[in-house]
Amino acid sequence: MTAMFGEPIARLEDDRLLRGNGAYLDDLGHDALAAAFVRSPHAHARVLGVDVADALDVDGLVAIYTYEDLPGRIAEPLPLLIPHPALTHGRTGYPLASDEVNYVGEPVVMVIARDRYLAEDAAERIMVDYEPLPAVVGVDAALAAEHLVHPDVPGNVAGHLVQSNGDAAAAIAAAPRTLELHLYIERSASTPLEGRGVLARWDTESRRLRIWTSTQTSTGVRAAVAAKLELDLADVDVITPDVGGGFGVKIVHPWPEEVLVPWAARLLRQPVKFTEDRIEHFVASAHERGQRHQVRVGFDDDGRLLGLDVRFWHDNGAYIPYGLIVPIITSTQLLGPYKPGAYRVEFSSLYTNTVIVTPYRGAGRPQGVFVMERTMDAIAAALGLDRTVVRERNFIQPDEMPYDQGLIFQDGRPLIYDSGDYPAVLARLKALAGWDGFEAERAAAAEQGRRLGIGLACYVEGTGVGPYEGAHVVVETSGKVKVATGLTTQGQGHQTVFAQIVADELGVPIGDIEVVTGDTRAFGYAVGTFASRAAVMSGSAVALAARAARAKAIRVAAAALEASPDDLEITGGIVQIKGDPESGIAIGTVAVLSNPLRYAFDEAAQAATQFAGGDIGKPPVADGDEPGIEGREYFSPLRSTFASGMHAVVVETDPLTAEIRIVRYCVVHDCGRLINPRIVEGQIHGGVAQGVGGALYERMAYDETGQLQNASFMDFLMPYVSEVPAGIEIDHLETPSPLNPLGIKGAGEAGVIPGAAVFAAAIEDAEGIAITSMPISPSDLFELRLSRRGDRAV
């Protein structure tokens, strides 16, 4: 049987989705009542009163709820999911605003009606009386702290963290050369094509709650909602249906709606559904990326880093339910593949009257890589060195692995790189991108009046963070194999890659394997899908569970065949003496034999009944044994595993219009062993497209009063095909991780991480103008050209 691991097989989930038979959240619960929300039109205001009188005669109205109606724990603030000692002033919102609103879009009133049209009719008629307060918008206003978002949070500072390794100040002071940079990145957002949504059904007879939600963590939602509704975990099922993309935003939980909809469903004893619309997704879910950075770096005349001191300010929006994860990641992962010399990093996370900030694919790394790679380019420029040479001189070398950066990572564990070969990645990238031949290419283009530039950017990404994932594998008597793992799926092809792992580990045909993810009924212990962790964590757990099931099948079959377990193999779903197909028993039959029966319900079962044989001197199920061919295992690694990669882009900038065109985009990527190269490349493609969006098009255009001016797909410029490169050239290096049984590293986020950095480098190279702020539009570039011309005139 051919090994499935490593094969670029077509996805097993596609057939259903291609026929229109997917089941996304809003495809469920057609008869459910619909929820709609009255949301704050003000970025900052006191709520003085709510008048629902006009809404009461809307046909089909079922209920209207304000903060005053919320009982018990539901009336308390939403949980602060990831506390941290440095998060001294953590604040979270209420499911419905109590007496103050802190961003445009914050839910104030929930309306339940027969359908969404009617619920919106009623919502429109509800009058909320506000007293507007001054809005704090953007990092600078938050830092100035002329106004406060939360009156009891001085300086708008939610948290402040310093980490260091060595004495950076002294190292910089003693360095032969120093530079200072000021770097800024704007907000963007995950923006999955399907927004959030939740459906809840309370079973009045069994007194159980069932929730379907478009989430990246079904077990997280289950625990959070059970706590809010004061239910036992055993009385709550959370099912993740097909999810139309996540990219980070759906890891946040519980959303206000995820608490309110189940609560209302229980109260009304009717199913209730909320489906977020697009404008709601812009103003009432989450954004990321907004950070201002200040870098001081000391280096020698060869470009070697001696000391690096980074201060930055992170805009966390109105509340901080997901804690300091994003800035912690920036502060640690900006080091990339380099030895920074002495390092000190300090950040403040600041409240603003805007949508909350939580991880979006890349999660703080795009900012960190932007900071580090801009610094590398600045050093190269200062010394007149090739940009790849400066990087090479600062790389951690393969023989220095594992490499301890001397910091604490986002999982609370030491930042120790497990493996990687950065010089080899760079060598491949230079070949792929034609780095050494670029000056000739540039000159040839210049002769035609075309302006080209090339940039590169390197990253290291901590993936597969803990604490754990688990998996269950069971062989049915039919020979079918059911696999369950608790984390959720949003398009990553988990059914395919986990089936590939099981096919190899258990020795069964891939077509006989069925994988379930994100359903607490099938597997109750899980963390979630984020931080490029699903393949590493659940993939490893699935492998271990399949190995356990295999060992059991071999043991049972060995007894039946009166053979030594060491002499058996499983291939094509048959357990047999090695190399002797004649001896084989189908694995489904082994499952029958593993379960001693009193009752025969079919011919296969007759083989396992009490009169079918067995040693009468022993109990039918031996001490310490259990019926069935099953494996249930957990994987909990010591630390994260660190993937790496480097991107290069060649851009052409129009000398007249400042339009920026991508000539070619090259990726070299090392995520350890590839389970399915086709799926990994798909992940890279999507990440690169989001990187293009974040670098050239996407920004959250807040005005000074906190109104999001571009909250639609008309105005928020998400890339169409016309904005992405016609081809993305990809090369892989496979440096296995020593930290998990499969040698794999995460791949989900990588494609987006160097986006801002690599485009800034290429545009700077084309234009000869320092690029310090991203994204950059043609208008921005045009302005930069004008201001440079102005400088020269002076």
């Binding site: 077509a10 996805r11 989930e13 596609d14 057939d15 989705l17 291609l18 026929r19 229109g20 038979n21 997917g22 089941a23 996304y24 809003d26 495809d27 057609h30 359908d115 049209y117 923006t191 999955p192 094509l193 399907e194 097909d242 999810v243 139309g244 993309g245 990219f247 619309d277 697009r278 949003q490 398009g491 990553q492 092809g493 086709r678 799926i679 490349e681 798909g682 493609h685 999507g686 990440g687 690169v688 497209a689 989001q690 639609s712 797909f713 008309m714 998400m718 169409y720 095909v721 016309s722 992405v724 016609a726 081809g727 993305i728 494609g751």
Partner: protein, 193 residues
């Protein structure tokens, strides 16, 4: 597109509710809808054809694209009452009569043209109409065919490949003649030979 007057007007069955008839994936359907009901909601929630997805409700993302009398239309921008009498093809109607995937669907499977799958139905309908118009697109024309649909997962790379692959599959299957017939007849699968 068939208008109400051509159909002899729409019956208002009770105040604010209208009886309309649609031919959806070849099957006649009678639906009672409020005047404001979007075609997308009518297909999804009244007829329970949930393959058509709604990604933005303002006609930009293309996830809700269906074929109305053979023309690709954003069903979130069309009222159900204005589709009275029309022949509509949704993603559920793209498969061949014998249940096999259409060339476009098969090409998406072959080329890993989908990840989360939410935008996919809109791409499938759009490309089906695009290839009916241009059965042999160049790579640039393939990009043009999908130029109005948003996908957040794939970076479009494999969707472009899928357009080209679908064209190839159609050629291989000798579907050119059939494409001509379906275009003539309004591009619903049952109109094929």
């Amino acid at each position: 597109m068939a208008s109400a007057s051509e159909q002899g007007g729409i019956t208002q069955s009770s105040p604010g509710l209208f009886d309309i008839s649609l031919i959806v994936n070849g099957a006649p359907q009678a639906v009672r809808v409020p005047a404001r009901r979007l075609l997308s909601d009518c297909l999804r929630h009244d007829l329970r054809l949930t393959g058509t997805h709604v990604g933005c409700e303002h006609g930009v993302c293309g996830a809700c694209t269906v074929l109305v009398d053979g023309v690709s239309v954003r069903s979130c921008l069309m009222l159900a009452v204005t589709a009275d009498g029309a022949r509509i093809t949704t993603v559920e109607g793209l498969t061949e009569p014998d249940g096999t995937l259409s060339a476009v669907q098969q090409a998406f499977a072959d080329c890993h043209g989908l990840q989360c799958g939410f935008c996919t139905p809109g791409f499938l309908t759009t490309i089906t109409a695009g290839l009916a118009e241009n059965p042999d697109p160049s790579p640039d024309q393939a990009r043009e065919i999908i130029g109005g649909n948003l996908c957040r997962c794939t970076g479009y790379q494999n969707i472009v490949q899928a357009v080209l692959r679908a064209a190839e599959l159609r050629r291989e299957a000798g579907l050119k003649r059939e494409a001509g017939l379906t275009r003539e007849a309004g591009l619903t699968p049952e109109a094929g030979p």
